[in-house]
């Protein structure tokens, strides 16, 4: 039996049940005497218990059973108290922690204390932060040991070595695990992740004393971490059988099509070939459409988690917030949905933390406009004070006094997306730590979307994300710079134009032109990419776009045209390089890279500073 496969299924289903429980609990808080809600909650806990017991995850089953008992009481009473809801939410958190253990194939954490009535104070978050810092900590050392072939009893020797290693620090992980060695697993190698204050050299000299060791090496840690990340990334998707049937039918048609084309080619039958190609185009388009269907997920996947966040925030801040979601059924590509989780949570937190004063409403609204999806987060709180932003921007030197006077409110609001920009004097628990709207804006732009902010002081603020439906296929503006082909998503391009060099003026050290009555700074793409200078031309090709909240005119060699392309990311570790967001292979075999201007310009700015 393939345990791993069943584990995946268990994890996916259990996570869904937990999500349902959270939603039900938050709803029950508003209507504590809803018998149907309590019954539904009971059923969810019961399902988790059953599944966990089948898979022999005893701690998970035990906790789920405990919840079932609690809920059975509520069911007979016909109501649920708010302390019980708190308790149950904490239990759900603990269950999530247990699922995480199972996912990482660790032993399940203990649930005894919780069942005995000791509620861990924000247990899950604490645990998470601890494990995180341990992973990033530099004092982690990976040691690889191999025994001489002549060692007669490798098991006991490895145990001795483990004892010795424990003296150097704390053992985070060993392969094989100690229990397995005790149970008789034979291995001549031992891999240990050690948290220690000693250096590699110190450990090496101490281990060298053991003559039975043939090899002592310290493999680089990064590779191991990368493998882990990849493990965590794999997720499962449920696909309807009707879609699968579509796929198999399409595959059948494609195979037939292939033979038609082969025959036509062998007979040099041009009209047959043309007909076949037309059919192929139709089939591929159809296939593309169906594959995108599989990738689509409703926005509800993210927004369903938010009521809990709102509830917890209201609890900790003492505010009263009504939270409404409209259009949660709008579907988007799963990659977009996943990338939206953090930004949405952040914007909702912002709205409650900075927008709403005591009582108010936060609303998420999603709708489609042609091939774009708009998601709007609005609140009826105090709004953003443009004066405060102006002052702060002056302080940080983001704006010159002249600019500060003339800037439009719309452009001013965009400044809150500048990294490290915050007008909040006090840092609260939830937001105002300097990472915030810049992360939101970067995430939205990475998806090829744009973020719009507007606000009326005293009436509230509104953030609107304009997003493409799917990420894989994007409409691009192709540009050329020193022979390389680059692309910008059309959604990021405000305008393209050609100007004569006579229109270019200098303002300080900066080249500018006047566009619709505004000064537009010009930046040379060749210079940004550190390419050699080009020849002087009669007309300059410009792409007007927005970077770091400012409009700029990007001077390029040539505007090539528009095209829909299939974007693929670069393989790891190259995906970390700044300057591109992946690339696409065009019909003629050329590669076009997606230009990611922001990090390139940030780097330049840092160098200049």
């Amino acid at each position: 039996m393939d345990i791993a496969k069943y584990r995946e299924m268990f994890l996916t289903e259990a996570a869904e049940h937990l999500q349902n429980m959270v939603s039900l609990l938050v709803e029950l808080e508003a209507a504590p005497e809803d018998r149907n809600g309590i019954a539904a909650l009971f059923r969810e806990a019961h399902s988790i218990k059953g599944m966990a017991a089948t898979m022999s995850y005893s701690a998970t089953a035990q906790l789920a059973h405990h919840l079932e008992d609690q809920l059975d009481n509520c069911r007979s009473l016909g109501q649920i108290s708010s302390t019980q809801i708190d308790y149950l939410l904490a239990a759900v958190d603990l269950l999530e922690g247990l699922l995480q253990d199972i996912r990482q194939q660790l032993p399940e954490r203990s649930v005894e204390a919780f069942i005995q009535g000791e509620i861990p104070h924000q247990g899950l978050e604490l645990l998470e932060s601890v494990s995180c810092s341990e992973d990033l900590d530099n004092s982690n050392l990976l040691i690889h040991l191999r025994l001489e072939e002549t060692v007669a009893a490798p098991g006991p020797r490895l145990l001795v070595l483990l004892k010795k290693l424990e003296e150097f620090g704390r053992l985070l992980e060993t392969i094989p695990a100690e229990e397995n060695i005790l149970q008789g697993e034979i291995s001549r190698t031992l891999e240990v992740r050690l948290k220690t204050d000693l250096s590699q050299e110190q450990i090496f000299t101490r281990l060298q004393k053991y003559s039975e060791l043939a090899e002592i090496t310290f493999p680089p840690e990064q590779i191991v971490e990368k493998q882990r990340k990849q493990q965590a990334v794999t997720t499962t998707v449920r696909v309807g059988t009707d879609l699968l049937d579509h796929f198999i039918n399409l595959t059948g048609e494609l195979i037939t099509n292939r033979y038609c084309l082969q025959t036509a080619a062998a007979e040099r039958n041009w009209s047959g070939l043309n007909e076949g190609l037309g059919q192929l185009a139709r089939l591929v388009k159809n296939l593309h459409h169906q594959v995108l269907q599989v990738r689509m997920m409703p926005l509800a996947t993210v927004t369903d988690r938010l009521p809990r966040t709102v509830r917890d925030l209201c609890r900790s801040s003492g505010k009263e917030v009504e939270f409404v979601v409209d259009g949660a059924s709008i579907e988007l590509d799963r990659a977009i949905i996943e990338a939206l989780t953090d930004p949405l949570t952040h914007m909702v937190r912002n709205a409650i933390d900075h927008g709403i004063e005591q009582q108010g409403r936060v609303r998420i609204k999603a709708w489609r406009e042609r091939d774009q999806v708009l998601i709007q987060i609005s609140d009826n709180g105090r709004g953003i004070d443009p004066e405060k932003i102006r002052q702060r921007a002056l302080q940080c030197g983001l704006l010159s006094p002249v600019q500060a006077e003339n800037i439009r409110d719309y452009d001013l609001y965009q400044l809150i997306c500048h990294p490290g920009f915050s007008t909040v004097e006090e840092i609260t628990e939830t937001s105002g730590r300097g990472v915030g709207m810049d992360v939101v804006k970067t995430a939205v732009e990475r998806l090829g979307g744009i973020l719009m902010i507007d606000s009326v002081a005293g009436e509230g603020s509104r953030m609107t994300m304009k997003l493409p439906l799917s990420v894989a296929i994007v409409r691009m503006l192709l540009i050329e710079s020193a022979g390389s082909l680059l692309g910008l998503p059309i959604t990021r391009v405000l305008q393209t134009l050609e100007v004569s060099p006579a229109e270019v003026r200098t303002s300080g050290k900066q080249l500018v032109i006047t566009l619709q009555g505004e000064l537009l700074p010009l930046l040379s793409l060749r210079k940004i990419l550190r390419q050699p200078k080009g020849q002087v031309k009669k007309l300059l090709s410009l792409v007007v776009t927005e970077v770091l909240g400012r409009k700029i005119g990007l001077v390029v060699d040539r505007l090539v045209g528009q095209q829909e392309v299939f974007v693929q990311g670069l393989p790891a570790p190259f995906d970390r390089l700044r300057g591109n967001n992946g690339g696409a292979i065009l019909g003629d075999g050329r590669i076009m890279f997606l230009l990611d201007l922001q990090p390139l310009l940030e780097k330049r700015r840092k160098k200049e500073a």
Binding site: S484, F574, R578, G579, G583, I585, R590, I591
Partner: protein, 143 residues
Amino acid sequence: MNQLLPFKLGTEVYALELPEIQEVVENPQIHDLPGAPETLAGAIAFHGRIVPVVDLPLLLGFPAGNRFDRLIVLSDRHGPMALWIDQMCPIMTLNLSHETLSQSSSEADCIRGVLNCRGEIISLLDLDQLQAKLEQLCAENGG
């Protein structure tokens, strides 16, 4: 028996084992990668995938010589990525465990062993070390 593909970097001979190699690409068209460090020569379109090209001599500190017109595309375990080299030599068949294989001491040069093959010194390229080196490079140039 093991099959090796030896190649030159500067005046030195390196080698990879055949299972580590997916394909050798002739006359590739290498496309510029915006913002990439010098040691990354660009990327090629390889069976519908974008595969980055590493300028191996430059990365390992050899003087800029004549880059060869062929690239070695590594198997997926170490990639996908392609290595640009100076010159390729014919495939050799030998028994690695019989050859004098001395362990390399320094970790900086991406060598996992050195063999003496009829008077010629051949260094086995250590792909794990190479990958670690590239991860570091990309992290430094990451944003």
